[in-house]
């Protein structure tokens, strides 16, 4: 078991290395002089020179990478060109709203998706199943920002029950926190929810055709128990996997949602940085998000061993 965990953990290293090389090369290999790209069209020579030396652009590419990766290992993501504040500090200042939103969305989506998908899978072909499939294809087709505006229009402008925009920290009270985060959570959660529900449905449906389901029925087990104890339990791995893969969806969504709902989080940070070509910030945020994605999926990979005895060795 420990060997399995160690093996999985080590397998993450090459991924992290490739991610950091890609993120590093993003700027260095772009057409034109990176310093000029960052400085923008109207910069003077002194500014360009300052950026060039800050990034160590004079040295060979490999040296640049090792210097950059070295400071990365010490938790140093560089310094924002625009605000001159360390990127790590900028991210820490902005992490709370983003983390809150991600967690509420995760809980919201999973709590609804798994039961819904299970029922749909066990009653494939029923009206509930058909409507879930219809809603799911809609959920994949509506861009998050469009959905966001639809919800704002309905709940905030027409019904006037929820605030239009903004974020209220949980430290300022649970009520304001929940009402500020409700719409962003629903918006961000829909695609994630239908994704998980679809996989749950497909997997439960597939399991319902397995021989061991027939065995359970032959034992006289109640249909509800057949579905949960046997079909759903055996679907745990695909469901967990899609929860992990879906984190990418969540991350992409956060970047847009924070702009729609005017939430001062990491997503907004990176959008602002892109508009200002603040490269160290962009790199820092990409690394952060990719790192989270990789770690979540590592945790899920390790979780397999607890859920499926065939994975253990």
């Amino acid at each position: 078991m420990l060997a399995f965990i160690a093996k999985r953990t080590l397998s993450v290293i090459p991924v992290i290395v490739v991610v950091s090389i890609v993120v590093f090369l993003l700027l260095r290999l772009s057409p034109g002089d990176p310093a000029v790209i960052i400085a923008g069209d109207n910069a003077d020579a002194a500014t360009i020179e300052r950026i060039r030396s800050a990034l160590g652009l004079g040295q060979p590419l490999v040296t640049q990478f090792f210097i950059w990766a070295g400071s990365l290992l010490q938790g140093d993501l560089g310094i924002s060109i625009f605000s001159n504040i360390p990127v790590t500090d900028l991210i820490l200042q902005r992490i709370e709203p983003t983390a809150s939103l991600a967690l509420t969305t995760l809980v919201f989506a999973i709590l609804i998706a798994v039961p819904l998908g299970t029922i749909a899978g066990a009653t494939a072909g029923s009206w509930l199943d058909r409507s879930l499939m219809l809603v799911s294809v809609l959920g994949f087709s509506i861009p998050v920002f469009v959905l966001g505006y639809c919800l704002i229009y309905f709940f905030s402008l027409q019904l006037r029950v929820l605030p239009v925009q903004g974020f209220s920290s949980i430290r300022e009270g649970v009520g304001p926190f929940l009402s500020s985060i409700a719409l962003p959570t629903m918006t961000l959660g829909l695609a994630y929810l239908v994704l998980i529900a679809r996989i749950t449905r497909a997997s439960v449906l597939e399991m319902m055709g397995e021989d061991f389901i027939r065995t359970a029925r032959a034992k006289g087990v109640k249909e509800r128990v057949v579905v949960t104890r046997h079909a759903l339990r055996n679907s745990a791995i695909p469901i967990l996997t899609v929860i992990g893969i879906g984190v990418a969806l969540l991350i992409s969504g956060v970047v847009v949602i924070e702009t729609v709902f005017n939430i001062p989080g990491v997503g907004r940070l990176v959008v602002d940085a892109i508009l200002k070509r603040d490269y160290p910030v962009i790199q820092g945020v990409i690394l952060l998000f990719s790192g989270i994605y990789v770690l979540v999926n590592l945790a899920i990979d390790i979780g397999y061993a607890f859920l499926d005895p065939r994975v253990r060795y």
């Binding site: 991924v15 490739v18 702009t259 990176v270 508009l275 070509r277 998000f289 990719s290």
Partner: protein, 290 residues
């Protein structure tokens, strides 16, 4: 077909018939939607539009009228015309990204299926690329260069390639174990021929499905990029650009956001329906590979 029948082939005549996938309701509805939107994009000048880029300061933010069916935007441009022309950018980008990603992915996938040592290296790179959320990678790539259709296409294609490579590779690995491949080996067929003749055709159906998903995803991401102001240049009529410009006036003129949103969602819905229908009819097992 039981054992007592004479061992001559029972004749199942191969008369031409409509392929099963065309009868799937999902394929039908999705296909019709997509066809309608493609037609609209192609015939944009003929469907009651005016020049979508003509700026008219006197006509700023006018409500819908007989002249401008969905009113005008901040610069006095006709919202309806811009939305119709916007279909062109979206469809062009969707198709370009899907084609380039598929072609590049198939090539890489087959080569990695052939040379074992390349496989290890390429798959590590693909894993790394997959670990960077698609939207972030795309946003970072466009932000490096001046926005244009070409850079957006490239930026959207790169993050999709690993998905294609993985799919091709998973098909190659599965089909490679099939007895009919062993049979081909034992009659002396060379490895490249086996790849092209026996393995590549098995990837067509899943790739067709993945292609539709990539197309839908590219259209969505382009809209997202333009929405954030990092996508297509603002003068190009695109649904993302329109929503981005309209969002400032959302509370006073929600139509500026809703019309392009409607077209956008309808297009992606059509493509997704088409993809789901193809997946279900061509081979339900495809779902597991993606």
């Amino acid at each position: 077909m039981n054992g007592l029948a004479s061992p001559t082939a029972t004749s199942v005549s191969a008369k031409p018939r409509i392929p099963a996938f065309l009868l799937n309701p999902s394929v039908l509805v999705g296909g019709l939607l997509v066809a309608a939107i493609v037609l609209m994009a192609a015939a944009a000048p003929l469907v009651g539009t005016v020049d979508p880029t003509r700026i008219d300061p006197a006509m700023r933010l006018k409500p819908p009228s007989e002249l401008a069916w969905f009113g005008t935007d901040l610069f006095g441009r006709d919202v309806y015309s811009r939305a119709v022309y916007g279909a062109r950018s979206s469809i062009f980008i969707g198709l370009c990204v899907a084609t380039t990603a598929l072609l590049t992915g198939i090539t890489i996938g087959l080569v990695t299926g052939y040379f074992r040592w390349v496989d290890a290296i390429v798959m590590r790179i693909m894993d790394g690329l997959m670990a960077i959320p698609t939207f972030l990678l795309a946003i970072a790539l466009v932000s490096l260069t001046r926005a244009s259709i070409a850079t957006v296409v490239v930026a959207l294609t790169i993050p999709e390639i690993p998905r294609v490579v993985r799919l091709v590779r998973s098909v190659v690995l599965t089909v490679r174990e099939e007895p009919f491949v062993e049979a081909a080996i034992s009659v002396g067929t060379s490895t490249p021929k086996i790849l092209l003749r026996h393995i590549l055709p098995s990837t067509y159906a899943p790739l067709m499905v993945l292609g539709t998903y990539i197309c839908a995803s590219a259209i969505l991401i382009e809209a997202g990029l333009s929405f954030l102001g990092t996508g297509l240049p603002p003068e190009i009529p695109s649904w993302g650009n329109m929503i981005s410009e309209g969002r400032t006036f959302f509370q006073v003129a929600p139509r500026l956001v809703f019309l392009p949103s409607f077209f956008l969602a309808l297009t992606v819905l059509g493509i997704n329906l088409l993809g789901d229908g193809l997946r279900d009819t061509l081979d339900p097992r495809i779902a597991k590979r993606m």
